[in-house]
């Protein structure tokens, strides 16, 4: 999740028109009516996330490579964390950060493997995780055979393939300005899971519907025992619920619990399955537990306040995130604590509308 302002950011209305196809737009408009002003703020954040932020100067960014387990590495730069998985069949790259960082990402990959990049996986559609798709895919090549290769020649194998959930692709093709076709996912799926055996490693991709967005994937490298979470888990900020792109707080909490269902720690809750977050430091199950607890507690508080009929201002006055603000809060940037509270409030209100108090029916009996 990038915090930088995008000079290329279009007005909210324009972005809304281009982010959504017609049918989705109707649903979005309906949701916006429910969400009100808070929805507008979240939409702005979502639009900001969707861009590539090409105007930023990345010259000073230095990548940090962390070996996670076996041949799985975490590469930290300026966008979302990148996972690099190497082996005799080639390289898989999960998330590609911002476009201007592609050269540095490729240099980092080359320090880890001289095998071709075969696969890119996008955990979701945001530009800080997909910006390098085009350059990194073009630096790789895929395997293809049969008549198709005879028909189109080397072009059939000229780039790495890009996996994403279909919802992510649907969002990406609606971006304005449009992404080049070479930056778009080439292999999508619409069901709950996609499996792949690569470098002898069973790799499972689990779709998490309506969480950070509506096209999020958790990537589990089963033998290395590593989970790449995309922005379904971070160590640096409150979860960004991109409501404009299908994100919900309840779905986000479900995704966190799914991560916990996948991870297995040692007998003292440390290590075991390692977790590469969308942003922040390398983690394990216990770090996800702390984060899940925080998000659930804040959601539960606001849900209860909504149930009691409180307004948004009243909820904010209760400071439902006070205990977590020094750790995760932000007063500025694209995703503030206030926006986090607002999106939960609006979604809790939509899910649990306060009961309408009917006027008392006049008694048929008269007091005599």
């Amino acid at each position: 999740m990038a915090r930088e302002e995008s000079s290329a950011r279009a007005s909210e209305g324009k972005v809304m028109r281009h982010l959504f196809p017609r049918t989705i737009r109707i649903a979005a408009v309906t949701a916006a009516v429910i969400a009100g002003a808070a929805g507008a703020a979240v939409t702005r954040a979502g639009a900001q996330q969707a861009q590539n932020f090409d105007t930023r100067n990345f010259d000073g960014v230095q990548l940090d490579i962390q070996q996670v387990s076996g041949n799985v590495y975490m590469v930290v730069g300026a966008g979302g964390n990148t996972t690099v998985f190497t082996g005799p069949e080639g390289v898989m790259v999960v998330d590609t950060q911002f476009a201007p960082l592609s050269g540095k990402i490729l240099d980092a990959i080359r320090t880890l493997s001289d095998q071709p990049i075969r696969w890119i996986v996008n955990t979701h559609m945001h530009g800080d995780h997909t910006g390098g798709n085009e350059a990194i895919a073009k630096a790789g090549r895929t395997r293809a055979g049969g008549n198709v290769v005879g028909d189109i020649g080397a072009a059939a194998t000229a780039t790495a393939r890009i996996i994403a959930h279909e919802n992510a692709l649907n969002r990406m093709v609606m971006l304005d300005p449009p992404l080049p076709s070479a930056a778009l996912p080439t292999d999508t799926f619409f069901n709950a899971r996609k499996d792949l055996l690569f470098n002898g490693e069973a790799i499972q991709m689990f779709h998490q519907p309506a969480a950070h967005t509506d096209g999020d994937l958790l990537i589990h490298f089963r033998r290395a025992d590593v989970v790449s979470t995309g922005d379904l888990f971070t160590t640096v900020m409150y979860p960004f619920i991109d409501a404009a792109n299908g994100g919900t707080i309840d779905g986000y909490i479900k995704a966190l619990n799914t991560i916990l269902a996948i991870t297995v720690p040692s007998n003292v809750n440390e290590g075991g399955t390692m977790v590469i977050p969308g942003h922040g430091r390398l983690s394990d199950e216990q770090d996800v537990v702390e984060y899940r607890d925080m998000v659930t507690i804040v959601r539960d508080r606001i849900r209860e306040y909504v149930r009691r009929g409180m307004t948004l201002d009243q909820v904010k006055a209760r400071k439902p995130t006070l205990d977590f603000d020094p750790r995760y809060g932000n007063d500025t940037g694209f995703w503030t604590t206030s926006m986090f509270i607002e999106v939960i409030y609006k979604q809790m209100l939509a899910a649990n509308p306060p009961k309408t108090v009917k006027p008392a029916t006049p008694s048929r009996r008269t007091n005599k």
């Binding site: 702390e290 899940r292 508080r301 977590f324």
Partner: protein, 298 residues
């Protein structure tokens, strides 16, 4: 003086004393150590009472964290084997073994190791001058520690800690905390003083001390083990539930201060409650709010 004030004074004395010894005369800490609990016993052995934050330099965020903490949280399977972080683990019941690891070719000290029987935690205090890892490295219960000798005093700096407890009633230590320790040997007594800095939950450093006595014999093997296997304890608990109290609605609000006849402003803690001058505020409050006479027959 409060316990914290005593600790600060002790630290100053220890630092002076340690500085008088030649650097080469490094003491031997290897052995089996057992804690003494004369300091802060109620907090360390029976366990702290709910909403007792007295003597802790906490901020409002830490208070709300503690006020919301429902002890049922530790019934969750994913919380049952939660380890005490290194700034807390030496305060509980444990057997402690310390030994030195040396480079076999040079006999230079590479590291001092500490094994706590509680949660079977092995801690490495690197003595070879290596730097701490960068910000993207994982955090652990024991953290990453480097040590150096200042005369006869071992000074240890720890970073990369997981979130843990400052007090075991919901007062949390964040994963951004750092910890500095001072270990001093006096005969067969080892004094350990820890200074915790936490930019998330503390307004000032928290200083605490513990003492250990060298054991003359080793302990049976099984006393060094801690086997933890999480299980579902509450059949009706829904997966993903996180027990917590709403802020301001703690069911035992007021219990601690009523039981001990203390003002609420003392129970709520804060840096002021660490210092000796705070006794005067308590005294003034007691003048206005005298302890009720015990009922007849009791």
């Amino acid at each position: 003086m409060t316990r914290t004030g005593l600790c600060a004074a002790a630290l100053a004395v220890l630092a002076l004393g340690a500085g008088a010894s030649p650097a080469a005369a490094q003491v031997e800490l290897s052995g089996v150590w057992q804690p003494r609990y004369h300091e802060d016993l109620p907090e360390r052995i029976p366990g702290p009472e709910l909403r007792d934050y007295l003597g802790l330099p906490i901020n409002d965020s830490a208070r709300q964290f503690g006020d919301s903490w429902d002890p049922s949280r530790i019934t969750l399977p994913e919380e049952q084997c939660r380890v005490h972080v290194s700034p807390y683990i030496l305060r509980g019941p444990l057997n402690l073994r310390i030994w030195v690891e040396k480079d076999p070719k040079t006999q230079e000290v590479l590291a001092i190791k500490m094994y706590s029987s509680t949660y079977e935690q092995t801690r490495t205090l690197w003595m070879d001058g290596r730097p701490h890892p960068g910000p993207n490295a994982p955090h652990t219960w024991m953290g990453f520690s480097t040590g150096r000798w200042d005369g006869d005093m071992l000074i240890v700096e720890t970073s990369h800690l997981k979130q843990g407890w400052i007090r075991r009633n919901g007062i949390a230590m964040s994963d951004r905390a750092t910890y500095t320790e001072y270990l001093v040997l006096n005969g067969d007594m080892l004094t350990h003083i820890g200074v915790l800095v936490d930019p998330v939950f503390l307004t000032e450093p928290l200083v605490r001390s513990q003492d250990f006595i060298r054991a003359q014999r080793d302990l049976p093997a099984q006393t060094w083990l801690w086997v933890c296997e999480p299980v579902v304890e509450i059949a009706t608990q829904t997966e993903g539930d996180v027990p917590a109290y709403l802020p301001g609605e703690h069911p035992f609000k007021g219990e601690f201060e009523t039981k001990h006849h203390l003002p609420e402003f003392a129970a709520r803690g804060g840096a002021e409650t660490m210092y000796p001058e705070f006794k005067e505020r308590i005294r003034e409050w007691l003048v206005k709010n005298p302890r009720p006479a015990p009922a007849k027959g009791k």
